[in-house]
C-alpha cells in the first residue's frame, strides 16, 4: 500500500491507494490455485484438536493462564483479601461484588464479609489480578467451568477459597509482593 501523495483536505487522514493487482492476480488463476493448495495442505495436515474430556488440555504456562478465580489465603489460613474494592473497580464486566466489614482479627483492619464473583459475567481478562494490591485474587488454570444453574455460577467467598485449596499445590501463589497490611515486620509501637 502506498501513501497517496496528494494532500487531503482533512488533517490526520492519510488516504491509501487500493493495491493494484498484477496480471496474474487479475487472471485469478494463480490465486485460485493458491487457495486450493492451501486448503489441500491443511486437509492432510496434523490435527490440533484436543479431545476433551478424553484428553486434557495441557496448559503451557499456568502462571499466565486465565481460568477460574481463587481467593488466596495468608499464612494463617485466613482470606488474604483486604476488601479494598480495587478488583471490583478494575473489573470491566462488573462481576465482582464485595461487602466489606471490620475484620475480626487484631492485625487486620478490613476484610471481605462477602466476596462474590459471577463467573458467568466474568470475561476472564485478569484485570482483578492486576489490580489486587495484596495478591489475594488470582486466576488459576482451571478452564473447564460448568454449572447447572446461574446461581451455581456465582462463586462466593467459600467457593473461591476452596478453589485456592484445590490449586495451591499445583499453582503456588504467583508473586510474593508484600502482603499488604498483614505482613508488617515491625509493627509501630502502640
Amino acid at each position: 500500500m502506498t501513501q497517496d501523495k496528494k494532500k487531503s483536505p482533512e488533517k490526520n487522514v492519510a488516504w491509501v491507494k487500493e493495491p493494484q493487482l498484477g496480471m496474474s492476480g487479475k487472471s485469478y488463476l494463480l490465486l485460485f490455485l493458491q487457495g486450493l493448495t492451501t486448503t489441500l495442505r491443511h486437509l492432510f495436515s496434523r490435527k490440533k484438536t484436543v479431545e476433551s474430556p478424553d484428553q486434557r488440555h495441557e496448559i503451557p504456562d499456568s502462571l499466565i493462564y486465565r481460568g477460574v478465580h481463587r481467593l488466596n489465603r495468608d499464612e494463617q489460613g485466613r482470606v488474604k483479601c483486604v476488601a479494598c474494592f480495587l478488583c471490583a473497580t478494575a473489573c470491566p464486566a462488573h462481576c465482582i461484588d464485595i461487602v466489606a466489614a471490620e475484620s475480626p482479627w487484631p492485625d487486620r483492619e478490613k476484610y471481605p464479609q462477602t466476596f462474590t464473583i459471577d463467573e458467568l459475567r466474568c470475561i476472564f481478562c485478569g484485570m482483578c489480578e492486576e489490580a489486587c494490591p495484596v495478591d489475594a485474587i488470582e486466576l488459576t488454570s482451571l478452564y473447564d467451568l460448568s454449572g447447572k444453574s446461574r446461581e451455581e455460577m456465582v462463586f462466593d467467598k467459600e467457593k473461591l477459597l476452596s478453589v485456592y485449596d484445590l490449586t495451591k499445590d499445583q499453582e503456588p501463589p504467583r508473586t510474593k509482593r508484600s502482603g499488604g497490611t498483614t505482613s508488617n515486620p515491625k509493627p509501630p509501637t502502640k
Binding site: 483486604v82 476488601a83 479494598c84 474494592f85 480495587l86 473497580t89 466489606a100 466489614a101 471490620e102 492485625d107 487486620r108 483492619e109 478490613k110 494490591p133 495484596v134 508484600s178 499488604g180 497490611t181 505482613s183 508488617n184 515486620p185 509493627p187 509501630p188 502502640k190
Partner: protein, 538 residues
C-alpha cells in the same frame, strides 16, 4: 484595589476583599496545595505544604525583591505589590520534601482507607511528590482510636489540626486536642469527654487524609463508586445545602455542599445521618385502594376527587414548593371552595446556635415558609391543621387529600380517627400511619432524595434539590402524580412549575429564571441585597 503578581501574572483584587495568597492564586486558576488551611478556620500554617516564594515589587521602579526563605501562602495576605512564585524549582522541591516527610510514618494502607480516592495526601503526592520513596517502610495497619462520634486512625494523621480548630472555633465544644510533641504528636480527647457534639461529623469532611473516619460510612463503600447529587437537607428549616452521595440508588453518605448564605461548609449530624429512613424497610411501596395499579389509579383518583363533594387538602411542610403548588391548584380546580391547610409542623426544642453562626432549627421541616406562601396565595390565609380538623368534625368536608412525607409518626390514633367520617381520603405518605389505615386511597410517597424540587428555608432562601436516587419500585413521586392528575402533558418538570409559581406568586418572583446552586433570596426584591461573603472553597 491591591494589585499582586502571581507567577508573573497580574491580579487585581476587588476592593473590600481580604484574601490570602492561596485564595488570590485560585482566582487566577493557580492551585497552591495545602492541608491545614481551611477558609472556615483560623490559620495555623503548620503543614508547610503551601510554601511559596514571596517578594515585593517596588511600585515606583518596578523592581522585585524576593525573600530568601519560602513562606506559607495561607498566612500571606494579598496586599498591594505582593509577588508570589508558585512554579519555581525551589517551591516544587519544598513540596516534595513536605510530602516525603508526611509519608515517612504514614501507613500507606490506602487499599483499606476510606479516604482513598478523595485523599489530599494521595492527590498531592501524585502531583507534587517524588517519583520514588526513599524511606524503606513497608505498609502497616494504622492504630485506631475511638474519639466518640468518629474514629481516629492515629498513624494516618498529618497533624493539620483542622479537626482541633473546628472543635474549638465552629462547634465551640473543644473536645479535641493534640497530645505529645514533635513526631509523637497525636490527636486525642480527654478520657471521659469524647467528641460528641452535633457538628462532629464535619471533622471527617475536614480531615484532608483518612485519619478521621465516619463510623456510619466506615468500610461501606469506596468513594469512587459514589455519585454526588446537589440537594437540600430536609432535617430542619435551616435548609443546608448538601451533596447526596449514592451508588445504584442507595445513599451511602451525605456531605455538606458549600453555601455561604446558608450553611457555609458545615452540616449537623442530624442532617448528615438523616438518610436511613429513605431505605427503611417499613416504607409504603405499593398503593392501596380500589385498585393498586398505577396505570388506572390516576384516572380513578381524579374521578373520586370530582365526585367527593367539598374538598380539603393537607399540604405537608415536607412538600417542595412545586408539589405544594400543584396540589393546591389541583384541589382548587376541582372544588373552588376547598380548604387548604398546612400540615402539622414538627418542632423539637429550641434553635441551637453555634459560635460561628451555624444554626440547627427547632422547626424540623424544610419548607414551612414556602408552603405557607403557596397556601396564602390560594386561600388568602394559612389554615392550620387544627382548624381543618374542626371543620371536618362539623361535617363540612367530604373529601381530603393528605400529603405526608414525615420521617416519623406524625399523626396519632385520635387525630386520625377524626378523618373517619370523610367519604374520600387520599393519603400519600412515606410510612404506615393510623391515617393510612383508614384512607380510601393510600398512596406511597417518595422520600426527599427521590424527589426534585425547591424548598424555602427559615431565611426565605429558596434552594432547588435534584433527584438523587430513584424511588423504590411501586412508588410514584408526589410531583409526577400531581402533574398527571393536573392533566399536564409530558413528564413532571419541577423547573416549569417553579417558573409558573414565580410568575403567579409575588413572594416567589425572585425564583424566576435559573436558580443558582446557592439558591435565591426571596427577600431580595423587598430588601436591599446585602453583599454576601465571597464564596470560598475548602
Amino acid at each position: 484595589m491591591p494589585t499582586i503578581l502571581i507567577d508573573n501574572r497580574e491580579l487585581t483584587i476587588p476592593a473590600g476583599q481580604k484574601l490570602n495568597a492561596i485564595e488570590a492564586a485560585r482566582m487566577l486558576g493557580i492551585k497552591i496545595p495545602h492541608y491545614c488551611w481551611h477558609p472556615g478556620l483560623s490559620i495555623v500554617g503548620s503543614c508547610r505544604m503551601c510554601l511559596v516564594e514571596i517578594g515585593s515589587r517596588d511600585p515606583k521602579s518596578g523592581k522585585i525583591t524576593m525573600q530568601p526563605k519560602l513562606m506559607p501562602a495561607c498566612n500571606t495576605l494579598a496586599t498591594d505589590n505582593l509577588v508570589v512564585v508558585t512554579d519555581s524549582e525551589k517551591v516544587a522541591h519544598a513540596r516534595a520534601m513536605v510530602e516525603e516527610g508526611l509519608l515517612l510514618r504514614h501507613p500507606v494502607d490506602c487499599p483499606i482507607c476510606d479516604k482513598a480516592g478523595e485523599c489530599k495526601l494521595q492527590d498531592y503526592y501524585f502531583k507534587y511528590g517524588q517519583d520514588e520513596r526513599r524511606a524503606d517502610i513497608r505498609p502497616f495497619t494504622s492504630r485506631r482510636r475511638d474519639l466518640g462520634d468518629v474514629t481516629l486512625f492515629v498513624d494516618r494523621c498529618v497533624m493539620c489540626s483542622r479537626c482541633v480548630r473546628f472543635a474549638n472555633e465552629v462547634s465551640g465544644t473543644s473536645e479535641l486536642m493534640i497530645t505529645g510533641r514533635g513526631a509523637h504528636e497525636e490527636i486525642n480527647v480527654v478520657p471521659g469527654y469524647p467528641l460528641n457534639n452535633k457538628l462532629s461529623g464535619n471533622v471527617v469532611d475536614l480531615c484532608p487524609v483518612g485519619a478521621l473516619g465516619d463510623k456510619d460510612f466506615l468500610y461501606k463503600q469506596r468513594v469512587w463508586f459514589l455519585e454526588s447529587h446537589p440537594s437540600v437537607c430536609t432535617g430542619c428549616s435551616t435548609g443546608c445545602s448538601i451533596w447526596i452521595e449514592e451508588n445504584q440508588d442507595r445513599i451511602y453518605r451525605i456531605k455538606p455542599r458549600q453555601n455561604p448564605f446558608v450553611n457555609q461548609w458545615w452540616i449537623c449530624n442530624d442532617g448528615r445521618y438523616d438518610y436511613p429512613h429513605v431505605h427503611d424497610a417499613r416504607r409504603v411501596t405499593q398503593p392501596r385502594g380500589s385498585t393498586a395499579d398505577w396505570t388506572t389509579l390516576p384516572g380513578q383518583l381524579r374521578e373520586a376527587l370530582q365526585s367527593a363533594g367539598r374538598l380539603a387538602a393537607v399540604v405537608s411542610p415536607f412538600l417542595s414548593v412545586e408539589e405544594a403548588y400543584l396540589l393546591c391548584k389541583l384541589i382548587r380546580d376541582i372544588d373552588k371552595n376547598a380548604v387548604l391547610a398546612l400540615g402539622p409542623v414538627p418542632t423539637v426544642g429550641e434553635d441551637e446556635r453555634f459560635p460561628k453562626g451555624f444554626i440547627i432549627s427547632a422547626e424540623k421541616c424544610p419548607n414551612r415558609r414556602g408552603v405557607e406562601a403557596v397556601l396564602a396565595y390560594f386561600s388568602g390565609q394559612v389554615t392550620g391543621f387544627e382548624e381543618l380538623l374542626s371543620e371536618i368534625d362539623l361535617g363540612q368536608i367530604q373529601g381530603a387529600w393528605v400529603s405526608g412525607g414525615y420521617k416519623a409518626d406524625w399523626i396519632g390514633l385520635a387525630t386520625a380517627a377524626r378523618f373517619q367520617r370523610l367519604k374520600l381520603l387520599v393519603v400519600q405518605d412515606l410510612f404506615p400511619s393510623p391515617l393510612m389505615e383508614i384512607a380510601t386511597h393510600a398512596l406511597p410517597g417518595a422520600a426527599y432524595a427521590e424527589r426534585p424540587g425547591s424548598y424555602v428555608n427559615r431565611n426565605d432562601r429558596l434552594q432547588t434539590a435534584a433527584q438523587a436516587i430513584r424511588p423504590p419500585a411501586g412508588v410514584r413521586t408526589e410531583g409526577s402524580l400531581l402533574w398527571e392528575l393536573s392533566c399536564r402533558k409530558g413528564l413532571y418538570s419541577p423547573g416549569a412549575v417553579l417558573t409558573e409559581v414565580a410568575r403567579e406568586i409575588g413572594y416567589f418572583s425572585a425564583a424566576l429564571g435559573p436558580v443558582p446552586e446557592t439558591g435565591v433570596d426571596l427577600k431580595a426584591n423587598l430588601l436591599a441585597q446585602a453583599s454576601p461573603v465571597q464564596p470560598n472553597q475548602a
